[in-house]
């Protein structure tokens, strides 16, 4: 049970997918126009992550190594489809706000990355908790970014007006509406990356370096840790073909 708590801590704090690993940047930028959207996206991703980690961990001895990528993709895509219909059915307003980004959870690096690096090598229970940890970490990250953007762009948190607006000649807050539009997402993320850069340097100086950013911000796609993000359906097969060519 201790290991399970450790997985949660690992996902939320130590290897937080948004702040530390910088994974899944597409949804991070696209849906964080408000805190509630960020929370909704984070929870949808958590559900997919937990379910797919569970199933992949159960099937880890059955799935042949050579076809593991297509198998993982099918598992993840199935759960994404289920989540998509549940959100569409029960939370139609969230579905309208998130739109195309719900089916795009399939190509979120976090999910296939966890399947490849954790769930396919570990027993079911720790994998489930790993999914919860990573999912809550992602939800936490998205909600924080959403709150920052919502305060700056509308003076609200979760739709509640916390900064009185300047109207009718009263002194108040003038919303910087660019922050709830597309360009603001880039500025907020840039600031976050810069802050994390400083934190990273301080941590390294103290002798406790943070794990390297493994998403697209860590370097380029080619250096992406998991082969999924760089799009190899069958890594092993490819390598084998090359060997054969050399032999012949």
């Amino acid at each position: 049970m201790n290991k399970c708590a450790e997985r949660i801590y690992n996902g939320v704090i130590k290897e937080n997918p948004t702040f530390v690993l910088m994974l899944g940047m597409c949804p991070t930028l696209a849906v964080t126009t408000s805190a509630i959207n960020g929370l909704g996206m984070g929870l949808s991703t958590t559900v997919v992550l937990v379910m797919s980690n569970m199933l992949i961990s159960m099937l880890r001895k059955i799935i042949p190594d050579r076809v593991r990528m297509p198998a993982f993709i099918v598992v993840v895509a199935s759960f994404v489809t289920i989540v998509q219909f549940l959100v569409q059915g029960f939370l139609p307003s969230l579905y309208d706000a998130l739109g195309i980004y719900i089916p795009l959870i399939v190509v979120n690096c976090i999910i296939l990355g966890r399947a490849e690096s954790y769930a396919s090598k570990n027993p079911v229970l720790p994998s489930i908790f790993d999914g919860f940890g990573m999912g809550f970490g992602f939800t936490f990250g998205l909600t924080c970014i959403g709150i920052v953007r919502e305060i700056l762009g509308a003076g609200q948190i979760f739709g509640f007006q916390i900064l009185p607006l300047a109207e009718d000649g009263k002194i108040g807050f003038t919303p910087i509406s660019i922050f709830v539009q597309a360009p603001g997402a880039f500025f907020v993320l840039a600031t976050l990356v810069a802050i994390m850069g400083i934190v990273r340097r301080r941590a390294a100086k103290k002798g406790r370096p943070l794990p390297a950013a493994s998403g697209c911000l860590g370097g380029d796609c080619a250096s992406c840790g998991n082969s999924v993000c760089s799009g190899r359906l069958a890594v092993k097969t490819e390598a084998k073909n090359d060997d054969e060519e050399e032999v012949s």
Partner: protein, 191 residues
């Protein structure tokens, strides 16, 4: 014809795939260090997205809808795209080595690029036919190429600037992307 033009301008410039929809952000940040590589990546993306919009459009219209399996679109599309990219890579390697040498390195980076799946899903969502879907895919990819080439041009100049230590690396690139997004935001009155 006019309708197709509206779709093309809309997806290439007004709703730029990277700067206003945040799809394909990974290659946009990762492969934009030099103009030449950025142009190569852009060409590969144009090739793959146009082809994949055609294939996914055909599959959706002639296989999924008649069998009323359209709820399986996400699963089918992602597998088709992944298989397609690897197939294209193999075909290019055997049949057109010069083209493969030019684009080959970028192809594997594209498969799970969200832009490819995003375009396929958008085509379905907006009820585009095969032709409008292909035009939309091509235009989206052209928009991606425009954005990544401009970004690479700016990044080549940034090297000579004195950037604050904390913002060196990807942070300044993101600030640049934000400024580009503001510029592209100005196009929103066009359509």
């Amino acid at each position: 014809m006019q309708e197709l033009l509206v779709i093309a301008v809309g997806s290439a410039i007004v709703n730029n795939v990277v700067l206003s929809q945040f799809l394909g952000l990974c290659p946009f940040l990762g492969v934009s260090k030099k103009v030449q590589t950025a142009a190569g990546m852009g060409t590969a993306v144009i090739f793959v997205i146009t082809l994949s919009s055609l294939v996914t459009g055909l599959i959706y219209k002639y296989i999924l809808v008649p069998l009323s399996f359209d709820y399986l679109q996400t699963i089918v599309f992602i597998l088709v795209i992944a298989a397609l990219v690897q197939f294209v890579e193999m075909v290019l390697k055997k049949m057109m080595p010069p083209l493969y040498n030019a684009l080959g390195v970028y192809l594997p980076l594209i498969t799970t690029n969200c832009a490819v799946l995003g375009v396929a899903l958008k085509n379905v969502q907006n009820d585009y036919g095969i032709l409008s879907g292909v035009v939309n895919g091509f235009a989206t990819a052209v928009g991606f190429t425009i954005a990544i080439v401009i970004m690479a041009g700016i990044r080549e100049k940034i090297q000579y600037n004195n950037v604050p230590a904390a913002f060196r690396g990807s942070a300044i690139v993101l600030v640049t992307a934000g400024l580009m997004a503001i510029a592209f935001y100005g196009f929103s009155g066009v359509i």
